[in-house]
């Protein structure tokens, strides 16, 4: 779109770039500040918290990782997030296969019900989740978090994976039936491999949610054996009280997995968002 360079056009153009660049700054500066803070000395944090550090203190990272609880908390987060992703993917792949590829009465009702879960504010379920998890003896276990994260992501995953499976041409499946493929074969040989992309999208959302989740982890766990890294940063910061720069190093370590996932999978995330109004 060509524009004649007029006074008004110039003003418009500058305002436009001012807006775009300040939003860019707003998105990146908090992360940048965290990164720089993790490389300061504690003295610099107190005297010059927003300037450039004199010498980059990489040993803050070594110090953070040598904190008694940090490796354990990281391991807990890795276990919880990966188990939730695997469980959620398996469960939704099976469910979505039926909802997308089989025809039966009540199918659309089921689909609507499952995906309408997005509309329900899960935080209003703090009481029932807590009482359910306590009654089943799962309180303060990693499995409690795995279960909750798997379940909470079902509406979003079902929506994404069912939509994806519906888009697979029927002819492919019919041909396989003629070739003698049964129910299980249709799922494992035809539909599952072809839905890989949709499953990866759903898994990405599930991973980012599970890795970052705070409230349910706070509600359902109470000791270091089963707490996740997000709670670690929030509550075990007493360990860091004299050593804030190492705490910031710990924070950077915890956001690295999210950033790596985003660098590799941002196309899937953006595609997933535009497939519908779902929040990761």
């Amino acid at each position: 779109m060509k524009q004649r360079i007029t006074g008004v056009g110039l003003v418009f153009n500058s305002v436009k770039w001012l807006l775009l660049l300040s939003l860019l700054a707003v998105a990146l500066l908090p992360l940048f500040w965290l990164l720089v803070s993790s490389l300061r000395t504690n003295l610099e944090l107190q005297t010059n918290p927003f300037g450039w550090p004199e010498k980059l203190q990489w040993e803050n990272y070594a110090k953070a990782l040598s904190m008694a609880s940090l490796p354990r908390l990281l391991l807990n987060s890795v276990v919880v997030a990966s188990c939730a992703v695997i469980l959620n993917s398996a469960v939704t792949a099976m469910g979505a296969f039926i909802l997308a590829r089989e025809r039966f009465k009540g199918r659309d009702v089921l689909y609507t019900l499952l995906t309408a879960g997005v509309l329900v504010p899960v935080i209003s379920f703090m009481v029932p989740y807590f009482s359910f998890i306590t009654k089943t003896g799962l309180y303060n276990t990693l499995f409690a978090l795995i279960l909750v994260y798997t379940a909470v992501n079902i509406p979003v995953s079902t929506f994404l994976v069912t939509a994806f499976m519906k888009s697979i041409p029927r002819e492919l499946e019919e041909a396989s039936v003629i070739d003698g493929c049964g129910f299980l074969k249709r799922f494992t040989v035809i539909i599952l491999p072809l839905s890989r992309s949709g499953l990866v999208t759903a898994a990405t959302f599930c991973f980012i949610y599970s890795w970052n989740e705070f409230l349910m982890a706070m509600l359902l766990t109470s000791s270091i054996e089963s707490r996740t890294i997000q709670l670690g940063i929030k509550f075990f910061s007493s360990q860091f009280i004299t050593d804030y720069s190492s705490m910031y190093a710990a924070v950077i370590i915890t956001i690295i997995p999210s950033i790596i996932a985003y660098i590799f999978l941002h196309d899937k995330i953006i595609g997933g968002l535009t497939a519908g109004g779902v929040k990761g």
Partner: protein, 297 residues
Amino acid sequence: MQAVGTHRSRIWGARALFLSPVLLLFFFFFLYPFVFTIATSFTSWRGIGLMKFNGVANYQKLLGDPTFRKALGNNVIWALSQGFIQVPLACLVAMILVRKPKGWRMLRTVYYLPNVISTVALAMVWVAIYNVEGPLNAILSSLFGMEKRNWLGNPDTALFAVIFQTVIYIGYFMIILLASAMNIPRSLYEAAQIDGASTFQQERHITLPMLRGSLITTMTLAMAYGMRHFESTFLMTGGGPAYATTTMGIDLYLRMDALRYSEASTAGVFLIVMGTLVITLLRKIFGSSDPMSEMAQ
């Protein structure tokens, strides 16, 4: 599919087997909690012992409680600010990016980035930014000579401060709006250009009407999220100072923490009702959405 119908019962068994995990999880983590929350909201229950039916006593108590009323009011402010500031800003950015200025793909990717970073980490940064000795005060006092204030510690500014930081999340709404703006046929703009319509007129009479559906969708989402806001406020202020930033979610948590389980459930019912109200109200006001939003759904 004809061949499928031959082993009826076996097929039904397989279908049930495949559906049951997802349905069981949905039952235990959505349906049962939903019913449980509503049921316990009409009882007096402290987590252990018997539940005693006590009618609408919890509802009366909450509505008469200044803390809960403050939370409800704050949630309404949250919803309105998300719907009427966040979404229009996101829409403006989407309208700029759809014209594909230099680096638009990179901008789109980076704008969404804060959405994948943990709230715990970002809340920590904002607490530092809003600190009395923090960069915000440094900038404001050097540029405008404003006196340094404790943004999160002062009841007059705390709510504004916790709402303002959500500007980093606009990428989410922007991506939805941008995708549907990209689906507007270019021919509409070409025809308008031949008729001599200015860029501004094209945006006003083509882009905005065509985005109507997606705008309703994003506004609904934004306001529903405003109603269920919890995390960043809880992490930055814990709802304080003096309940200035409390929300229904925080109120629910604090009641539960004080072992007032049935009151917490009642707060949960309010959360669900207010969220539903937002969604139905927007549908009523703006009408059901057009085909564009069905695409976005």
